[in-house]
Symmetry: C2
Subunit: 196 residues, 2 copies
């Protein structure tokens, strides 16, 4: 802490300027959609001047790509944590528990992965496939759990579970009723338990 002025003459960027932009973009795009979120909004929220955004991301699309990559990365961490649990049924139920715990945010803005994927499919965007890969990652993880439970119809069960998951959030969001997530969550947990 001594002589802070004399050392490090090179201006080191406050760590995370780029990360702050990605996080701000993710939050704003989840709340208002990609199209309605301007780079000015993101820059303001991240406390970065507008023109400087283009030093980190050449286009808005690159920023969206970074958001998707961040989702994928977070998803892998979540899987790693869940995989610590001993049985597949416990892992699936633990995910449903954390899902229900987030019901307020999910009801307010929808599923981050689902709504982004839906919006990107409407554009001519190549990014749609990247977003789809995140959803496919969740589907694959579900399928692995069911396979480990010895189910030959693991794929179909995974599709049914993911559809119920995404569909319930869509309903909760559109109808503005977070209790739908609680009720469906409990029903799905019972269903999983009955399969184990």
């Amino acid at each position: 802490m001594t002589h802070p002025d004399t050392q490090a003459p090179v201006e080191v960027a406050r760590p995370g300027k780029r990360d702050r932009l990605i996080a701000a973009a993710q939050a704003a795009m989840l709340a208002h959609g990609v199209e309605r979120t301007s780079l000015a909004d993101i820059a303001h929220a991240a406390d970065v001047p507008l023109g400087n955004v283009y030093y980190y991301f050449k286009t808005k699309g690159e920023l969206v790509a970074a958001v998707i990559e961040r989702q994928r990365s977070r998803q892998q961490e979540a899987f790693a944590a869940l995989d610590q649990r001993p049985t597949p049924a416990q892992r699936l139920c633990a995910l449903l528990d954390s899902w229900m715990a987030q019901r307020e945010k999910l009801t307010a803005h929808g599923c981050p992965v689902g709504t982004l994927g839906t919006e990107l499919r409407k554009g001519a965007d190549e990014l749609a496939d990247d977003s789809a890969a995140v959803l496919a990652g969740l589907l694959g993880w579900f399928e692995r759990q069911f396979t480990e439970m010895g189910r030959g119809d693991a794929r179909q069960l995974a599709v049914a579970l993911l559809a119920a998951y995404e569909g319930t959030i869509l309903l909760a969001n559109t109808l503005a009723d977070q209790d739908l997530i609680t009720v469906e969550g409990e029903r799905l947990k019972q269903w999983i338990t009955s399969l184990a």
Copy 2:
């Protein structure tokens, strides 16, 4: 047909100019989203000059409102047709059959009601509630069928069915796999039959 020039000096609009705009708006907005659909696109598709759109709709929002009203109207017609069938299980399965028959369009663009509701919730739009009412209409119809089947948990069953319905379309659209609709459709029909 005689003397067509001398009669009806008042220029009667070719029937359906307004309707053409609504239909074109619905198609374009389903394909590309409300935000990305410009009034110029709609006017061009409906073969109406851009400036003339404002004679029929004061704002773009009014045009979206007309699209929603059209969805609601079509939904009522669909319910009336389905209600001709003798049993609630037959009605539900008939709806799932028509759903599966439309799997190609649903996979390409998502559910017209679900994607519109999701997008409008992202905006500050008051129209979101109008769109939600259409989804709620479908939910209510489901619930009536289960009630008529003598189920005390009709509401919960309706939520589960609608979530599976919307969630499956979201997956089929995002993952670009229309077979998901076929597989889930058959599973849901079996489930309904098992309840009857």
